[in-house]
Symmetry: none
Subunit: 226 residues, 2 copies
């Protein structure tokens, strides 16, 4: 799924937007002022940016202009406080791709985000690389590193993780995992899955006792949360 950066200084609104897009299975990065937003846009290369205009430290206009000047081409969706036509014109002139006037419905914003992502084709890119905190996993080369240090992932662990990640949040039953990772040839116990999950957690979860990414859904299976 796509990564979205939300820059909004009004705390309650920011909270609501972050929750909503996380709920819709996006990976969400947030910033509460223009300067931070600008930096996070450069550091995290999001697929889309939701940008308020009125922001402390650096206005949304300036963030947008500077990013475009540096060749950043991701879709930017502006939030304008008033239904002010001049805002619109200026925003679009600066290189924003769309804008939504406050107050707006989350549903409408959601729809616009989907539309922009579809247009930019970003939603299709299935990353070959996964980042969790300071761990990076490259599914092409089967390499995983924490910082510079190489982590020792086994093949099953790679396959299992990749499958769960590719299902983006959906619960996958143990039987389904066995089918798709192990194939029809071998018939291991469903408990085998649990063991591998435990091993994966030990390697990538910050606190394996309280997993945040490899989530157990009791009585059903496992799912991946970005």
């Amino acid at each position: 799924m796509s990564r979205i950066l939300i820059v909004e200084d009004e705390a309650a609104l920011l909270r609501a937007l972050v929750d909503n897009f996380r709920f819709e299975s996006y990976e969400v990065i947030e910033a509460a002022d223009g300067e931070t937003g600008y930096q996070k846009a450069r550091e995290n290369s999001p697929d889309l940016m939701i940008l308020d205009i009125m922001l402390p430290r650096m206005s949304g206009y300036d963030v947008c202009r500077r990013l475009r000047a540096e060749g950043v081409q991701i879709p930017i969706l502006m939030l304008t406080a008033r239904g002010d036509e001049s805002d619109r014109v200026i925003g679009l002139d600066l290189g924003a791709d769309d804008y939504v006037t406050k107050p707006f419905s989350v549903r409408e914003l959601s729809a616009r985000v989907r539309a922009l992502l579809r247009r930019s084709g970003a939603s299709v890119t299935q990353a070959d690389e996964l980042r969790i905190g300071d761990v990076r996993i490259d599914f092409r080369t089967y390499e995983a590193r924490r910082g510079g240090e190489l982590l020792d992932f086994t093949r099953k662990e790679f396959q299992l993780l990749r499958l769960l990640v590719s299902r983006q949040g959906s619960v996958v039953t143990r039987d389904a995992l066995l089918d798709e990772v192990w194939g029809q040839e071998s018939y291991p116990t469903t408990r085998t899955v649990d063991t591998h999950i435990a091993n994966l957690r030990a390697k990538i979860e910050p606190d394996p006792k309280r997993p945040q990414h490899l989530i157990t859904v009791h009585g059903v299976g496992y799912r991946w949360v970005p």
Copy 2:
């Protein structure tokens, strides 16, 4: 999740299949003979059909042929009694998409169903999601939130809620709920249903004492009001 129609006359097998696919969170419709199966296929527009060949009243061949003749394009998976090659050829000729030879493992059947659904693109149908006030329930991820806060739903609660919601307003008796959520294997008291309903209310009703969505129909059962 996807809707599956299972047409099988052997009662024990039908029972096992229905329970299994319900457990895997599919919405399951069942039929015990060809004629009924044919009609349910037209009435309920399932996403996939599992179709035995030897059936009373109308053979699986005929069901398949007639549906195809009418332009029904859903994937059809045939169950053949013997590993008879001619069965296979005939089935696929008639427009079946896959076939499995009895006896088969439920796991294999499961895998084929998933594969067919993936191919047909049905599984991509976005997360079915339910919103009640500030509570959102995602049946795909088994996740429920009030605002940003994660609600702890159990599997039974999810299944029960989903069934009631899918019946959209009509009353469902406790016996029917036991049948469809619990399956035929277990025989809990009808009181067990009440308990789960109470737990659900505590979690999603704004005022559990005065339920507005999970409504009791005295002497009959429960129904869901959006």
